[in-house]
Point group: C2
Chain length 247, copies 2
């Protein structure tokens, strides 16, 4: 499934606020005629988007799974789209069975921001040292302790994650060279706000506010259970869950 | 200036609803420290976007015009961006002085809709005869009477407009061939909901609901002051004011 997370307080159902899970479960409940609880591969945060979210749920409905996406079209708002549905083993768990998740963080570097991208891209026209950010990002790759790249409120048992890719890509848009910068990161899992703290740190290094080597030092400090000052959390709007891989 | 029109009841200031003009004038008033009234080249309708809107206003402020875009950044919401400002002759009128206005209507033809485009593109996966729509659109070109392509509520003195371009363009997106269809239309001016009625008619011809020749017949009927059944008004979200030309 895909969603534009701008208007949602994240994926996970909460009281008194509109969440993707809440809206999706309500629509599924109406379609399948019984209460539905979904489990999602990635619990995206407030304002974060998804192009490749995967959810699972149990149903006793006789509606063929292939009909569910079309059935949901009229029941879901325009900013949530279910692309595909199918039957899977009862013990399938989209969180535990996921081998990797890939997110992308997008930054617009031009002086003129295309307004149609304002919900999906962070506008950052200020000076940034691209090569420094590329080098710094590579230090994230590997099996590392990300304790210094998580926000309070995280309940994860371990803070060790295996990051298999942490790369910047520059793209041309509308004849403008290298105007869109994308940070692609793949890991077996992420801590609370981990990617936004990674991006915030890379931006602070890129603009010269934090020294080169901050990433390496912050990861090293975590190994000896020391805190380390990293960058601040980048806004959620630039982040998108792109893909979840299963065996 | 550019704006995402999704959350606005059109450009023009109205009581009790949020409009682009209202929000812009409030921001300009705060920046320039006196009430401001703007005049816009195109009075876009509810939900319609703009990439190339042009507005004019009078001010007694001593702020250099070149500083206005940056000054407005913090005062305007993210869905309205002023790209440029400069001084112009006191008698400049963005409506009367405009030589032409160009709009684009976008339709997504793929089976899978990219959710990040849901505010800016109409999703229309059904069967459409592209060549028929291309031929039919050409009939709009010329100096014609568009009385049958306007909605009630129009107060225009004349319904004759000179359309210099009414063309479809197919575009590839993300490896998918011809998945985005764009209808580009340029004229010296447009009647109330004229473009959306033009697009609605082309879609109805393309899907076989109205016969080929509907456009030609509807324009001809207007010359003898006869009504003619055209297609229904296409949703505002697919429409964008792209460019206004001045001498």
């Amino acid at each position: 499934m895909q969603y534009d997370g701008t208007c949602y307080a994240g994926f996970q159902r909460q009281k008194d606020v509109v969440t993707v899970q809440g809206v999706l479960e309500d629509a599924l409940g109406r379609l399948l005629k019984h209460p539905v609880t979904v489990r999602a591969a990635g619990r995206t945060d407030s304002g974060v988007h998804a192009r490749g979210q995967v959810v699972a749920f149990n149903t006793i409905s006789s509606i063929p799974p292939g009909r569910i996406p079309k059935g949901l079209l009229g029941l879901l708002p325009d900013d949530i789209i279910v692309d595909w549905a199918g039957e899977i083993a009862l013990d399938f768990d989209p969180v535990k069975d996921a081998v990797s998740k890939t997110y992308c963080y997008r930054i617009w570097r031009g002086k003129r921001m295309p307004v149609m991208a304002h919900r999906y891209v962070l506008w950052y026209p200020g000076g940034l040292d691209y090569q420094l950010m590329v080098d710094e990002a590579l230090d994230f790759e590997g099996t590392r302790n990300f304790a210094n790249f998580r926000a309070l409120g995280s309940s994860a048992k371990t803070t060790v994650r295996r990051v298999t890719r942490a790369r910047w890509v520059q793209k041309d848009v509308g004849g403008q060279k290298n105007v869109l910068w994308e940070f692609w990161v793949t890991a077996d899992g992420f801590l609370y706000r981990m990617i936004r703290l990674m991006v915030g740190t890379l931006l602070d290094v890129g603009r010269g506010y934090l020294p080169a080597g901050t990433v390496r030092d912050a990861l090293k400090a975590a190994e000896s259970r020391n805190g380390f000052r990293v960058g601040k959390c980048a806004p959620g709007k630039g982040l998108c869950l792109e893909k979840v891989c299963f065996p």
